[in-house]
Amino acid sequence: MAEIGRISLVVAFVVTAYLTVASALGIARRQADFLASARNGVYAATALVTLAWGTLIYAFATHDFSLKAVTNYNSRATELAYSLSGAYASQEGSLLMWAWGVALMLLIVTLQNRGKHKSLMPWVTAVMGFVATFFLSLLTFFSDPFAKMAVIPPDGQGLNPLLQNTGMLIHPPALYLGYVAFTVPFAFALAALITGQLGDEWIQSTRRWTIFAWAMLGIGNILGAQWAYVELGWGGYWGWDPVENSSFMPWLTGTAFLHSAMIQRRRGMLKVWNLALIIITFTLTIFGTFLTRSDILSSVHTFGDTNVGPMFVAMMVLILAVSAALIWDRLPLLGGENELDSLVSRESSFLLNNLLLVGAAFAILWGTMFPVISEAVRGVKVTVNAPFFNQVVGPILLAIVVLMGICPIIGWRRASLDNLARNFRIPLAVAVLAGIAAVLFNARQPYAIIAFAACGFVVGTVALEFFRGACAQGRVLGRNPILALPNLVWGNKPRYGGYLVHLGIIVLAIGVVGSQGFQTQMEVTLSPGQETTIGSYRLVYTGLTSSQEGQKDVMSAAVTVYEGDQLIGKMTPSKEFYKGFDNPNTEVSIRSTPVEDLYLILNSWNDQAASFKFVINPLISWIWAGGYLLLLGAVVAFWPDARERRREAARIAVERPVTEALQTAEV
């Protein structure tokens, strides 16, 4: 069975290499049969990679220990769901998942654009084909997921218990979908550069791909944070680990791209910047996977010993070199559309937004790579951990939050300062109220108060936009504004979906400020019957029990929780010992309310005396709630919108003959 997987992988590699060349040759020499052959190549390659991926998953599901990957990440006792997820737990398997993702996206793009974008599509195919070929070449020559064991063991090592969690079923696939989906706008950008068709065509066709990639990356990050919170048991959710950072950076630049693309679609500005931004975003996705598979920085995520690091460096260098050369060559075609009317305009506030987002991404990149830089320059390896990132990236993100409140109020083209001042009044009032509320709830540090006030400001802005829009819609429809809200949102999905996303980010930000700034913790050792208080809770430790569940031995502590005089219930933080794994798994016990989380960790014990760490995380559920709101907003923005389609069609219909006429005139 595994032989089928290996063979289809190798054939897929050959086919993708072929379709890349065929597609490029076909369009360069205007030979339709090469293009048709390349398209067939896409279908064939997708089928083959899917077969390879399916074979690997099947091997995991059936505990085929003749494969190294299965032996290392699976055992007979592993449940089916975690057997399936074991397929992407290994370095080779995850590389295969990436390759499969690229092939799948290429297939969808091909099917979506049959008969459309006739001059761009062949180059899109060539670029995506090249990326797929790259990953498949790694799998064929360096990192074989179907590598065999010399001797077939009777049982495998099993999946690391840390990974046996529902979050782990979704987090890696979501993240990978996000990474891979950015290949599409990147391919379109390169195609636009190669063909010289640098109008809105490439950026318009990839709007929804970008939203999809951005949303998946965002959800992937939040799910990862949630997994860390629930599974790792240190009371936090984001450690600014190099691999966490490397999935945050493309999300930040992707956010910048989403916004500046809006400027290009509306005003025809920033063409070079948009191209550069999507190229940087895509390069950062490759960088992310490079960090996980190389040895240059240590992280909980790294795959350990791999040999593919240098290949990724070569790929990044190639992408950047080719893109830079193309942009340089096409520079004459990219200039000229100076449509800026005023410094007080949405355009310039978007530019500031871009500066801050890219600045934040740079700060994270700089901090992540600084240990390597410092070692190269001084020979001393310094560490750069959470305090650095909190202090450097924190203020930048805060400034972005403030900007999120300002941008929707400023009009396109030219906004009058009087108008602006008038529009600021209500949001500023909300900001002040939020700041006061924060102080009333015991916020004392200036940073936290400013942050809450900023969040209030944005909420005020977004609420005002919805209110004004709903009133206007209500007048048009002859209805109550509240009833007109669904019509409002559905009538302009990109815009109001965007506002929902902003709201989601603010909810998330409130959760972050609350949990970062106001966390209370205590470490205490208790004997059975002893109690302690933390926050408004009284915790009574009643004793330890040991049990056996399937493949693990569990030692759990029973803690009865009271809030004031009211009995809340019993919580059981525990430690789980899995056969074959040295370190026990910490299973924390969490009680969540919208106000705060009570988080109990069992650290160690001696006889019946147990050492605990108790944590109170205020507002942390707001982070997950913000994530859901963000996803909802992204879905709304993603949904096909008839009005948007009509507007863009009109714009392209006007633009294309004019551009072509002007280009012929110039020639």
């Binding site: 240190w234 800026l340 890219v358 740079f362 714009r651």
Partner: protein, 162 residues
Amino acid sequence: MKALQTVLLATLMAASISLWGADTASADLADDIISELRCPTAGSSQPLSTADSPDAAWMRGFIRAKVTEGWSKQRIVDTLVYQYGERVMAGPAKQGFSLAAWLTPFAIIFGGAGVLGALLTRWLSARKLHDAYLNAEMARGSGETGLRRYEEQLLRELERFE
């Protein structure tokens, strides 16, 4: 206009200055110091606050004891760095080459803002010249620019139509 950008950048500066050395969750000085250090055991990459090793436990105890005795944060950190090396610090030192770690991102952002401001001002004045030229051309009824003018007018009207 420029005032808006200045206000935003001032906010950013004020926030970053107020945050300098002030990312503490707790008012307790000992917790503050502990949160900025890492486990001293060779090969460990854990933060001091959660590390399990005997060295880490000793270090936490040392910090609490010295805080009670009245030592300053700088003196405690310097002593530990002298004993274990810079690797116990969870972040780069705020001096020497490591200062570049802290300053570079802000330098890039403020520098970028400066470049952006200059670019925008140049675009605006170029735009004013361009508009003046177009008006002159329009008065003469020139073909190509007349077409562009219609295009722009159409796009403006489409936007107003929203």
